[in-house]
């Protein structure tokens, strides 16, 4: 059956739109980490943070490791493609502000013993913008 030429751009646009729209159905994390000090808690809370510097699995793992010593942080799920961390914590023992501070603290590189400054910056917390990306 004969087909009009305009069908090609129409199919291209339709498939691109379906791909971008359909991506919501395929959400999966890059890193999932449950902290050793988690312990039982009655009232866990989850904060969604968009963190500048989380670009791939490696940088996400490093960001997750920044919270190792924060008492009350239970679990962290990282989505590298969205630069997003979902941090679950016990509000009785820590707060979103303390978690942000820990994330933005200098990062120790174990191999060299050096500290890297400004590697991570929280720019959005629970849908609320804190800073611009380029600030």
């Amino acid at each position: 059956m004969k087909a009009p030429a305009w069908i090609i751009p129409v199919l291209v646009v339709a498939c691109a739109a379906a791909g971008v729209g359909g991506s919501r159905l395929l959400v999966a994390p890059s890193v999932v980490h449950t902290y050793a000090q988690a312990g039982p808690t009655a009232d866990a809370r989850t904060s969604q943070m968009v963190v500048e510097g989380v670009k791939c699995v490696d940088t996400a793992e490093r960001a997750v490791a920044q919270l190792n010593d924060v008492a009350g942080v239970l679990k962290c799920v990282a989505y590298a493609s969205r630069a997003r961390l979902d941090v679950t914590y016990d509000p009785a023992r820590t707060s979103a502000a303390a978690i942000r501070e820990a994330l933005e603290a200098p990062v120790l590189v174990p191999a060299t013993g050096e500290y890297l400054f400004g590697l991570y910056r929280v720019i959005e917390m629970n849908g609320e913008k804190i800073a611009d990306v380029d600030e």
Binding site: A3, I7, I8, G19
Partner: protein, 269 residues
């Protein structure tokens, strides 16, 4: 339609360059990788076996790759001819080389014999695809980034782009001058991945022998250098439906776009 395709290509090249520069300047968190469907294929194994994404790949890459397979099953490699920014750059280079070297067609200064062409398309490209996928699945890193012309050009010196990446790009561009579209034809791993679906693709160019004058204008203007005038229906998995052939054809109705395998409505001939 030729103009519309050029608008598509220019818009996508401009959007990719804009996104790359913004990301490199730290003004955006959306990198040029976010919308690359090949990233979806690279991370597919990790996603379906561990429910995790590899490296910087994410759900948008995977969803776009799935959508791309659907597009290819319908409209063959229309992605390559209408969307791919690297494909656009190599096509423009091929057109430039054709003018500079005063060639009548896209066979290039070093025309590749048909048998070698087929062997390279199958062997080299599928080999490149296999290598990239195995290395990505084994390491969990997008190992192909440093060699990928799309990433090298549009990431604005992004992560993993080293000095040798530019040498790779320069070599590919130099090769493209004498062997038009060499990257797309012989090396692109995404092209290799799409090839089986493209062969099965339903939208095809058909030549009407009653109207065709065998002038060969379609062959000469095909950037993929496909022998359109020698077949009834173009079944090659390399056709990008760029429609350069139909635009060059001097005879109306000699080349038509058809849904292959779909019967004509009753009462029509």
């Amino acid at each position: 339609m030729k103009r519309l395709r050029l608008i598509f290509q220019l818009s996508i090249v401009a959007a990719a360059a804009f996104a790359g520069v913004r990301y490199a300047l730290g003004k955006s968190l959306v990198s040029v990788e976010t919308y690359c469907p090949f990233g979806g294929l690279e991370t597919a194994w990790s996603f379906f076996t561990r429910r995790r994404f590899s490296c910087a790949a994410g759900e948008t890459n995977l969803a776009l790759f799935i959508a791309l397979i659907v597009l290819t099953l319908l409209a063959r490699k229309a992605f390559c001819g209408w969307v791919c920014p690297a494909g656009a750059l190599f096509e423009w280079e091929a057109k430039l080389a054709r003018r500079v070297f005063r060639r009548r067609d896209f066979s290039g200064v070093w025309p590749v014999p048909a048998k070698v062409d087929r062997a390279l398309k199958i062997g080299l490209r599928i080999g490149a695809l296999g290598l990239v996928l195995v290395a990505t699945w084994k390491t969990g890193e997008l190992v192909f980034r440093g060699y990928d012309p799309y990433y090298i050009v549009f990431s604005a010196h992004g992560h993993d782009v080293k000095a040798w990446s530019y040498l790779v790009l320069a070599a590919l561009l130099a090769l493209g001058l004498v062997m038009p579209m060499a990257w797309c034809k012989y090396l692109c791993p995404l092209g290799a991945a799409l090839w089986p679906a493209s062969i099965a693709g339903r939208l095809r160019l058909a030549r009407n022998e009653h109207h065709c004058t065998n002038c060969g204008a379609c062959d000469r203007n095909c950037p993929q250098d496909l022998p359109i005038s020698r077949v009834g229906e173009l079944t090659s998995g390399e056709c990008t439906l760029c429609l350069e052939c139909t635009a060059a054809c001097p005879t109306p109705k000699a080349l038509e776009l058809r849904w292959s395998g779909v019967p004509r409505p009753k009462g029509r001939r």
